[in-house]
């Protein structure tokens, strides 16, 4: 057979390898810094761009997209050419892929610390960068599929299946999750609202883990592990089964990030059952890797590369066992919002992705440079110190999670929260946070040991950038299935067919979950009391997003007694209909904030409290690990886009009145001046246009509306009129006195100090507008009447009863200077 000569492009592999190492070190150092801030909050140095909320997304993005992203490209550009016996389809696309990807990373490293973010986890980058990512990612896929089409081998190998699935799925996920409407060049709002946004985000978020951190690395495993061990793949059939079941099932499991939250039960159930079904397909990958090493275990003892692979594959197996377990609702009720999640992802990230990458680099760099690894011993040291670091990182966090969740949920014998102060549950785990820093340092020490070893290896060898290779051209076979050919073997030689099947497999799960969430109304029961954000609240919300508050504070109270006792009524689907994007968060380093606008609730804090707290959290509350936000007091609120913001919200269906955008700025100013005046009364002189004012406005909006709807949860009041109450006035002097007190502060302004009537009617005569029995009075106070507002959101039933009793007692007292009678005369 005639052998064709062609050249492998090794230069692109080299470039990606260098980028992997560089961004790996950067990403890990950022992570280390962020971890340090959690134990020592002053490490943000009072710099906005160094604060946890801003650099945590930088760390996750740097590790996921910069470190492992470049590792994927390194490995796939090397393996794809060799597995397909062809140079990459286009050198231009290869270069475009490389430089485009590095540009994206640099832009991320600039914009994220500046707080330019959409706040959707692992998809934080703003819309212009999103577009760039889509273009660069498609250029990779184009290059991949182009190479597939010009390949010289007949069938495509399992590693390529995984690369292909990764490309297709990530393209779909990224584009689907990033549909947003720009406000300006640096700001956009996602088209999805509240619960829908949560479902779309975690369909993306979960599958970013699946198709960016799992399937491409399985691709790497299927190439580099058998190469390094020089053993055949254990089972071709297992490859087929676990590949298809994995990519199909993964896409359904997203809702397990939202268990026991404001998500319809059917969606939660899908999340649970598909996560459980994911266990065996995931383990299929682990087993095919480990069983491939049979007969090579003696080599593992000497080879650092194989050691890295073995621990990586084992960590993969552990993570994919833990994942389904964490998706069981009972387990999840304990682990969610705790450091368990952080420990879990670091077993995956440090173990599976990190160690696969290190193993690959130790094998690949000597191959590329036609030499031997400079020091096998140093690589072994890296392995051991990295393993130790991984354990020292994750074990304390598991411990911290266990401790904290039990503290959150513990009740005393009398039925009260054992640790009502959230802070107590934080200070308890600070020692674990400190230990985890040590784990991080050890892990980074590993990669720093790797650096000189690889540099010396590179210096001792030489690279052939265009490596000569020979292969026979691909034989043309019939399009139809050949006699004796299995259906799978058939599509393995039909790349386009294969890609279409992959697309079908990955798209079903998302469609089944997302489409009903958007189209079927009953999935998100509306709550009439929930109103759109005022312009100032909206600006405050955008600051909350900018500062990355969601990285430490949830806004999602789960339906457990331990949570409703601590925070207030649990979160409902209908509360979030105007939230673009949703802000439920995934971790509670600080307390939940969903009810921080509920006056008289457990989480309400007055404006001046927030003022002091943002200024100097540690000075204000000893032991707090909240960072200080001094710039909130210096920086002016930039509300220049408020008109456009309201217009975009209207476009997305938020019911602001027609033409409201023109009025927005004036309203914003008015509300801000109100808050500034309130602060002034408390002795804090601050201009109305500082950022702190908008933050306070936003925090005071959270849960305010639903508190109007559900009133005090103890009283079971609903947004329906209070009709069922059978109230009789109390004559207990205690109650009357309490009623009088409230009357003085809440009613006297309109009804006069003695009920003589001012704006409101005279309450001391014998005339009433709405009926004079005690029950009627109670209803009017509770629900309001005419221009009078209802007070059931502000007072519980007991207090309402006290006021009603007091008002009832006023009837016929005929106070001095009484207003003229209104309504009907009654007999008391």
């Amino acid at each position: 057979m005639i052998q064709e000569k062609f050249y492998y492009d090794n230069k692109i592999v080299k470039l990606f390898a260098y980028a992997t190492i560089f961004w790996g070190i950067v990403g890990m150092l950022v992570g280390l810094w962020a971890a340090t801030e959690l134990a020592f909050p002053s490490w943000n140095l009072n710099l906005s761009w160094l604060t946890f909320g801003r650099i945590r997304p930088l760390h996750t993005n740097a590790i996921v997209f910069a470190f492992t992203g470049n590792a994927i490209f390194t490995g796939s550009y090397y393996a794809v050419q060799r597995l397909l016996k062809a140079r990459m389809f286009s050198d231009f696309l290869s270069k475009f892929n490389f430089w485009g990807w590095q540009l994206i990373i640099v832009l991320a490293a600039i914009t994220l610390p500046l707080g330019i973010t959409v706040s959707k986890e692992y998809a934080e980058l703003e819309w212009p960068i999103d577009i760039l990512i889509a273009i660069v990612w498609v250029s990779y896929g184009w290059n991949l599929i182009g190479t597939l089409l010009k390949r010289r081998v007949q069938h495509i190998y399992v590693a390529i299946w995984f690369f292909l699935a990764s490309f297709v799925a990530v393209a779909v996920l990224h584009i689907g999750n990033s549909i947003e409407i720009p406000v300006n060049f640096f700001k956009s709002y996602t088209v999805y609202a509240g619960v829908q946004d949560a479902v779309v985000q975690w369909w993306y978020g979960h599958n970013a883990v699946a198709f960016f951190l799992t399937t491409p690395f399985l691709g790497l495993m299927y190439y580099f592990l058998p190469k390094a061990a020089n053993r055949p793949i254990y089972s071709y059939r297992l490859s087929i089964i676990h590949f298809w079941s994995l990519i199909f099932i993964y896409m359904w499991a997203g809702p397990h990030h939202l268990l026991y939250q404001a998500l319809p039960d059917w969606a939660q159930t899908l999340g649970v059952v598909f996560s459980i079904m994911l266990l065996a397909p995931s383990w299929g990958g682990m087993l095919n890797g480990l069983l491939t090493l049979r007969g090579a275990w003696d080599k593992v003892r000497e080879s650092a590369v194989l050691k890295f692979f073995v621990v990586a594959v084992t960590a993969y197996g552990m993570s994919t066992f833990e994942g389904p377990m964490l998706s069981i609702k009972t387990v999840n009720s304990f682990t969610h919002f705790t450091d368990w999640t952080i420990a879990h992802v670091h077993i995956g990230g440090m173990g599976w992705n990190g160690f696969m990458t290190f193993g690959m680099l130790y094998w690949l760099i000597p191959k590329l440079f036609n030499t031997k690894l400079h020091s096998e011993k140093s690589a072994n040291t890296h392995f051991w110190i990295g393993t130790l670091g991984m354990l020292a990182y994750s074990v304390p966090l598991y411990w911290a999670a266990f401790t904290q969740t039990l503290m959150w949920k513990e009740f005393t014998d009398a039925g009260y929260l054992a640790y009502p102060e959230f802070l107590d549950t934080v200070t308890q785990i600070i020692p674990m946070y400190i230990t985890r820093i040590i784990g991080g340092i050890l892990y980074i020490t590993g990669i720093i040991i790797m650096l000189p070893n690889l540099i010396k290896t590179i210096k001792s060898g030489y690279i052939i950038e265009n490596e000569e290779a020979y292969a026979a051209p691909r034989e043309k076979l019939a399009k139809k299935r050949l006699a004796g050919e299995t259906p799978h073997r058939w599509i393995e030689r039909k790349a386009v067919h294969f890609t279409v099947w992959v697309l079908i497999a990955i798209i079903v799960g998302g469609l089944v979950e997302i489409i009903p969430m958007i189209t079927v109304k009953s999935n998100i029961p509306t709550i009439a009391a929930v109103k759109p954000y005022t312009p100032l609240e909206l600006e405050g919300r955008d600051l909350y997003i900018k500062e990355g508050c969601y990285t430490c504070h949830s806004q999602s109270i789960r339906p457990f007694r331990s949570e409703t006792e601590r925070y207030g009524e649990y979160s409902k689907q209908g509360e979030f209909v105007y939230d673009h994007p949703f802000q439920w968060g995934s971790k509670r380093t600080g307390p939940d904030l969903a009810r921080s606008g509920y006056r008289g609730g457990k989480m309400f804090r007055p404006a001046v409290w927030h003022y002091e707290h943002f200024k100097d959290p540690q000075g204000f509350i000893e032991g707090s690990i909240m960072p200080a936000y001094p710039w909130f007091f210096e920086n002016d609120l930039d509300y220049s886009s408020i008109k456009r913001k309201i217009e975009v919200m209207q476009m997305l269906g938020v019911p602001y009145p027609v033409g409201y955008a023109d009025q927005a700025e004036a309203d914003l100013k008015k509300q801000a001046e109100g808050i500034a005046a309130e602060l002034k009364k408390a002795g804090k002189d601050i201009a109305w246009n500082k950022q702190i004012i908008a933050m306070i406005a936003y925090l005071h909006k959270l849960g305010k509306d639903i508190s109007l709807a559900t009133a005090d949860n103890k009283s079971n009041a609903t947004d329906k009129k209070t009709e069922t109450v059978n109230f009789t006035a109390s004559s207990n002097p205690e109650d009357l006195k309490a009623g009088a007190e409230i009357f003085k502060s809440s009613c006297a302004a309109c009804h006069g100090a003695n009920g003589e009537g001012v704006v409101g009617p005279n309450l001391g005569d014998n005339f009433t507008l709405h009926g004079g029995n005690a029950n009627n009075i109670f209803k009017v106070i509770s629900d309001g009447a005419g221009i009078m507002t209802g007070y059931k959101s502000q007072f519980n039933q007991e207090k309402l009863g006290q006021i009603a009793s007091y008002v009832y007692s006023l009837l016929g007292t005929n106070p001095k200077k009484g207003k003229d009678p209104e309504g009907k005369e009654i007999q008391k």
Binding site: Y234, S235, R237, G601, W609
Partner: protein, 195 residues
Amino acid sequence: MENKKTYPKKVFEGYNEKYDQKLMIEHDYDGIRELDNPPPPWLMWLFYLTVFWALGYAAYFHFFHIGPLQAEEYKIEMAEAAKKYKKSDAGTKQIVLLTDETSLNAGAATYAKSCAACHGPEGKGGIGVNLTDNKWIYGDSPENIFKTIKNGTNKGMASFSSLSDEKLMQVTSFILQKLQPPKVTDTKDNTDSNN
């Protein structure tokens, strides 16, 4: 078929050629070969088991409606707690100020943790009102103070109902006896405080 019998051994034993089926002749990708082994049966059984479990789980909650869904589960939890714990209803019972040193110290500790941030370490006020001036917006009786702390106020004070009644009584006692000036100097005529 001896393969099948000895299978479980194979998983744990070292490589042994006779257990493996042949290399697949056609399968050679850049030198990587593939074996034609069946997937480990226990893994397949695990998979089938999870699928059955999934069907059962969905049926249990959604087709036969046996298991409680989220909102229902919460109601059950709350009802059980209501049965188990008889929480006192603030306002319905007389509150006797505690005077023993232990209670007052406990009250001081709670005060330092939960109240001092707003009312000042010595109760002189700050964000919250001054607690040492004998002026009370919501009534000066222990009951009223107790209730104010427990239920919060419309003006901005948070509800501390997550603290036990015992703790609330301790802190009420502390405020009234340690932060307040002696009653002798009280010029207000409103003195129904029972201490």
